[in-house]
């Protein structure tokens, strides 16, 4: 068999995922994202390099991490390590992790070859059942487009159902590389207003909207829009109508609303980051009912949370 040398960086593989595509699926979380949404529930996936997570409850303050770090990225304040993550981003070593005997430091992210990943998928496919397949998510899978294409191509040719969850904020040429090997796209929308989009995600939405139009012309598979619903950020009727109108112009008429949750909060602590979405409330069922009504007025079928279109 031909050995595939391509490799990529991922931070998790999860089997028996039941909410990201038809059937039970294996999810592959790519590292690196072209947006940085403040509510992101996988913040460890934003940076493209491997980064240490710090579990303070397990830390005994022994100082091994500090003494073992070749780049002096760790200082001790109040007997606890404080990590300079700008230095860590560039560090290819694992010394601090290896020398932490209590597992207070754990590496998020690892390099994996296409072949290794594919063998895990081949294993998992025996357990998916009638439907099922893979979903590339992350991070933004299309930031590692060659790796994504290789794995999608291999799966597609092996009769595996393929899906991707994308924020859409990548050059069109990246989409072009993968759409022939995709059965399904989850396409995230955050805000219709470019300025607000930039405030919430760090970038304007012009490129994203452009990509939707192009996909509409060229992609033959199924596409489901997704909207992370953040009350107080993108919950205005105006914004919802804008998004609904954009969708109604496309050939795909389904949206899956993902209500804000705070399950990712702990991860911000592990990364030493501030969780800016903390002050945003999770939506009430009344809120969600209203959202549904807006979309349905535009002829867009709206699925809330786990009530999915598959």
């Amino acid at each position: 068999m031909e050995i595939n040398q391509h490799s990529g960086t991922i931070f998790d593989i999860q089997g028996f995922s039941v909410h990201d595509g038809p059937g039970a699926r294996t999810l592959i979380f790519f590292k690196g994202c072209s947006l940085s949404c403040f509510w992101c529930s996988n913040p460890e996936g934003i940076s493209k390099s491997n980064i240490p997570l710090y579990y303070s409850a397990k830390c005994i303050g022994c100082g091994n991490c500090k003494t073992s770090c070749p780049n002096k990225a760790i200082q001790f304040i109040d007997e606890k390590p404080v990590i300079d993550r700008d230095i860590c981003e560039k560090c290819p070593e694992n010394t601090c992790i290896d020398n932490c005997y209590t597992d207070a430091l754990r590496m998020s992210g690892r390099t994996i070859s296409v072949d290794e990943l594919f063998s895990i998928i081949q294993r998992d496919r025996q357990y998916w059942g009638k439907k099922g397949g893979i979903t590339l998510t992350g991070g933004e899978p299309l930031t590692q487009v060659d790796f994504a294409r290789d794995i999608l191509e291999k799966c597609y040719n092996a009769y595996i159902h393929t899906a991707i969850e994308t924020c859409g904020h990548v050059p069109w040429k990246n989409f072009k590389k993968v759409i022939d090997y995709l059965d399904w796209i989850f396409f995230d929308l955050k805000h219709i207003d470019p300025k607000q989009h930039k405030i919430g995600t760090g970038s304007s939405n012009a490129n994203i909207i452009n990509n939707i139009r192009k996909l509409n012309e060229t992609f033959k598979g199924k596409l489901v829009f997704r909207l992370p619903f953040i009350p107080g950020y993108n919950s205005s009727k105006e914004n919802l109508e804008g998004i609904a109108s954009l969708i109604s112009e496309s050939k795909w008429k389904e949206i899956n609303i993902l209500p804000l949750h705070h399950l990712g909060r702990e991860k911000y602590q592990l990364l030493g980051l501030e969780y800016k979405a903390a002050c945003f409330p999770t939506p009430s069922s009344e809120d969600l009912k209203n959202v549904k009504a807006v979309f349905e007025e535009f002829g867009v079928t709206c699925f809330i949370s786990q009530d999915t279109p598959f």
Binding site: I13, Q14, G15, F16, S17, V18, H19, G23, A24, T26, L27, Y55, A57, K58, I60, C62, Y101, T102, D103, R123, D124, Q126, Y127, W128, G129, K130, K131, G132, H262, L263, E266, Q306, T308
Partner: protein, 893 residues
């Protein structure tokens, strides 16, 4: 020790996926029983386990009178006297009646099996009896924390074994009759002959070191088997007596005279049962005469009429048949100390009766449902009075009456039927531990049936367990071919006890001139033989050259290896393990032989084909299939993980030496040993002041490849162990001169056996519980999700062994809704298609279990799956509770 610090909670909760937050999520599906059964269930909840001296008194008295009589006839007479003198008790609202004793949760000790406990505790029991009255009333409330267990003596009630309440005034009688069995019980006589086995000294040490959990012959000589109800359903009691009378004529005076005595014994026993049933009928009639409510009065009269009828005749209706099944189930349980007496494929046994009643319009779906709920209560009320360590340490108070559904018919078609759907329904509305359900999965079973099973699993009671029909058939065909088991008979199998594959037969039930082939057990007790060998403890002995390092006593002779290579470790392990199996096989054979001579089974023998044909009881190979002795193990995953760590750390990467490993094992990785703190639970381990010394090595042990992650390194070790184990068992012959086979269930032994085992090379701390089941990962070490776990679990052929056991904990949100149900079924099917033998689920939010530990009163009805059985949370020991909490929870992804 100022650094005392317990492990943080985050260590104890093990999640795969997103850790659940917010409100504790309760189980999705909740149902309640019919009004009638809601009342009887409440009555059950408020009832304590109670033991009585009535049966043993009459048994012993009659036994004494008949000195010199042929043993089996003497025993039949003694049993008959016991049955005749049970005070009949009928409880309000019951549609099915009769229990083991005259208490709702009644049972009684059987000193003829073993009286040692009572003799040893004599003084203490007298003292207890005297002290009991002094316990103040406020202490009574704490007893409620154990559910129905009588955990301490109070008022006029003595606590036996921390479980059974016993009347103070009956204590002198119990001690009096116990003394009569001194030097005569199976235990005492067996013990005498066991000592003639070369290597008996090692056996004693093996038991003392708790490398083996208990002697099967003295504790639970029967059970882990499947009932066969064919004869009473077909012939009725009078009919069977007539068969005996015919047989007596044919055998009297002819060679092989043991047959004559057997038929005589069966005939005698049946007379005893007739009196027992008639006594209950009388009592019911009496209750009818006292009842003012017309409806209740009618019900009582109907019950009385049914009992009078069944005392002589075969059943006329479904209700009759169910009552008959129940009568014989209790009759067998009253004959011996038994746990794991499974009704088997009852929905298929009773189907012809049910179908006929439904067609005739004699029965409705609602009435069937109510009757099945009543049946659940009767099974749940059963208690097992065995020797003390067994009730708590092994069984967690469970009686393992496994009811199987699904599987195939004699002709190889799906055997699932509408009555089985109702059995599932009633198990959802009346969720009680007994009978537990197992679904014999086959590709031929209809989808709607399987989805009903999924719906029931969602209730969260842990049943049905999902069991692989094809794997079991392969196992049976491999192991019973010499006794003539063919593919048709292989299809008649069922689970006996918690998870023991048991051979069955098809019996021709004639009803209105039509023959229905009904399945039933046709082999005696399995899981007798070598009972629960603690694999990590054997490995410990290897490392310390034959010593039990905890006590300093020598268990095995020195193995003489320097342990300079992994191969030497593996060789020494195989030698010690083989020695253990050999000596335990021989001593257990003696135990069971003595049991068969002093305390043979009469009713159960009569029921099992082909004892009645052959005129031989089950201890004389009267059954159709007799290869039932096995070797049971516990802690296999900890063994394999430890071997993996030794191989990698000591020999390949040379991270530390063998001596260092021995030191850290003794030092318990810098934790205070559980035997010092008295806290054996995973949650309660405390660090010593110098724990930092061992941190690096502990991490290296914890980081070594672990079973359950689809890691070839350790899975290969697992596979090698499995293959060797299944083959080596065949080197030993049972009492019936059949080779042994391997059996892999932990029941609750992974708690107490872990408690006496030092730290292990896989990083597990001293005294803590082992991994449960046989292919469940050690809590928290299965980090790559369920698919990786499934791949590891199926790395060898499960049909090599009588069973394998996989327990999983799943958060309720994962399988929510209609789509969740369908995906859940796909997951189960996938595992079984890969060759997994068994999987069962706890559908529960771990935080709910934690809350239930703190507030047991709020959770009287909460049930969890342990290892092959479902039990009330409040009736489990804390070690096992903590182990269940610590299991990796597959949370929402």
């Amino acid at each position: 020790m100022d650094l005392k610090k317990t492990l943080s909670e985050s260590v104890i909760y093990n999640y795969y996926g997103v850790k659940p937050e917010g409100e504790i999520q309760s189980r999705e599906v909740k149902k309640s029983p019919s009004a009638r059964v809601a009342k009887t269930r409440q009555m059950y909840f408020e009832t304590k386990s109670s033991a009585s001296v009535e049966f043993p008194y009459w048994y012993t008295r009659r036994w004494d009178e008949l000195e010199g009589e042929i043993p089996i006839v003497r025993r039949a007479e003694a049993l008959k006297a016991g049955f005749e003198h049970i005070t009949p008790a009928i409880f309000p609202g019951e549609l099915l009646v009769i229990g083991k004793a005259h208490y709702l949760r009644g049972s009684y000790p059987m000193p003829w099996l073993s009286e040692a406990f009572f003799m040893a505790q004599e003084d203490e029991m007298y003292k207890d009896a005297l002290e009991a009255g002094k316990v103040s009333a406020d202490k009574v409330t704490t007893i409620g924390q154990g559910g129905g267990n009588v955990t301490q003596s109070v008022g006029n009630v003595i606590s036996l074994a921390g479980k059974f309440g016993f009347r103070k005034e009956e204590m002198p009688i119990l001690l009096h009759i116990a003394k009569k069995w001194f030097n005569k019980s199976v235990d005492d006589v067996g013990h005498k002959y066991e000592q003639l086995v070369p290597g008996y000294k090692e056996k004693e040490e093996i038991m003392r070191a708790v490398i083996c959990m208990f002697d099967s012959g003295y504790t639970l000589p029967q059970g882990r088997e499947v009932m066969n109800y064919y004869y009473p359903l077909q012939y009725g009691i009078e009919g069977i007596k007539n068969i005996c009378k015919e047989k007596l004529k044919q055998t009297a005076g002819y060679p092989d005279m043991d047959r004559l005595y057997f038929y005589k014994a069966v005939h005698t026993m049946l007379e005893g049962l007739q009196s027992w049933i008639n006594n209950h009928a009388e009592e019911t009639k009496l209750m009818a005469s006292l009842e003012e409510d017309e409806k209740n009065k009618t019900e009582y009269l109907e019950i009385a009429e049914r009992l009078y009828w069944l005392a002589n005749n075969p059943p006329r209706t479904f209700h009759d048949a169910l009552q008959m099944v129940w009568i014989f189930h209790v009759a067998v349980l009253n004959e011996d100390a038994i746990s794991g007496l499974s009704p088997g494929r009852l929905g298929q046994v009773l189907y012809p009766f049910w179908k006929r009643d439904m067609e005739k319009g004699l029965l409705t779906l609602e009435k069937t449902h109510e009757l099945l709920e009543c049946m659940r209560m009767k099974f749940t009320e059963l208690d097992c009075f065995a020797s003390m360590g067994v009730v708590g340490g092994v069984l967690s108070g469970n009686t393992f009456n496994n009811l199987c559904i699904g599987g195939l018919t004699k002709d190889g078609e799906s055997a699932a039927n509408e009555l089985e759907i109702l059995i599932l329904d009633s198990a959802m509305t009346c969720a009680t531990p007994q009978p537990t359900l197992s679904l014999l999965y086959d590709e031929k079973l209809p989808e709607e049936f399987l989805l009903k099973g999924v719906e029931c699993t969602k209730i969260g009671t842990g049943y049905p367990a999902w069991v692989n029909n094809r794997v079991a058939m392969e196992f049976l065909l491999n192991n019973f071919k010499n006794e003539g088991l063919d593919i048709e008979e292989a299809r008649a199998w069922s689970i006996g006890g918690c998870l023991e594959t048991s051979a069955g037969s098809w019996m021709p039930l004639e009803l209105d001139g039509v023959t229905h082939y009904i399945p039933g057990g046709s082999a005696p007790a399995t899981s007798v033989g070598v009972h629960f060998i603690s694999l990590p403890k054997v490995l410990e002995a290897v490392l310390f050259d034959g010593l039990d390092k905890r006590t300093g006593r020598r268990v095995y002779p020195s193995h003489g290896y320097k342990l300079e290579s992994y191969d030497e470790i593996w060789k020494a392990f195989k030698e010690y393990f083989s020695l253990t199996v050999e000596v335990l096989t021989l001593t257990n054979n003696i135990q069971h032989d003595v049991w068969g001579k002093i305390s043979p089974s009469i009713i159960n023998s009569m029921l099992k084909p082909d004892c009645l044909e052959k005129g031989k009881d089950i201890s004389k190979k009267g059954s159709r299939y007799n290869r039932t002795f096995n070797v049971e193990i516990c802690g296999g995953v900890n063994l394999v993980n430890s071997l993996s760590s030794i191989k990698k750390n000591v020999f390949e990467e040379k991270n530390f030496s063998m001596d260092t490993l021995k030191t850290v094992i003794i030092e318990n990785f810098g934790y205070i040993s559980a035997s010092e703190t008295g806290a054996y639970s995973l949650t309660e381990q405390m660090k010593t002041t110098d724990y930092r010394t061992w941190l690096k090595i502990h991490k290296q042990c914890l980081d070594a490849p672990k079973y359950g992650n689809d890691d070839k390194y350790v899975d290969d070790i697992f596979k090698e162990w499995q293959k060797w184990f299944s083959v080596m068992c065949e080197n030993y012959a049972s009492l019936y001169n059949e080779p042994l086979y391997s059996c892999q269930i932990s029941v609750s032994t992974h708690g107490p056996m872990g408690a006496v085992t030092l730290a292990t090379a896989d990083g597990r701390l001293s005294g803590t519980t082992f991994a449960d089941g046989s292919v469940s990962a050690y809590p928290g070490t299965d980090k790559n999700g369920p698919y990786a776990l499934f791949s590891s679990a199926t790395c060898y052929n499960h049909a090599l062994s009588q069973n394998s056991q996989l327990n999983m904990k799943i958060h309720p949100s994962v399988i929510q809704g209609r789509e969740g149900a369908r995906k859940f079924l796909e997951l189960i099917k996938a595992y079984l298609r890969k060759g997994g033998f068994h999987v069962q689920f706890n559908i529960v939010d771990s935080r709910m279990l934690k809350d239930a530990q703190k507030n047991p009163d709020k959770y009287r009805g909460l049930m969890v799956r342990v290892a092959g059985f479902t039990q009330y949370w409040v009736e489990l020991g804390k070690q096992i509770q903590d182990e269940v909490i610590a299991r990796t929870e597959y949370a929402e992804i």
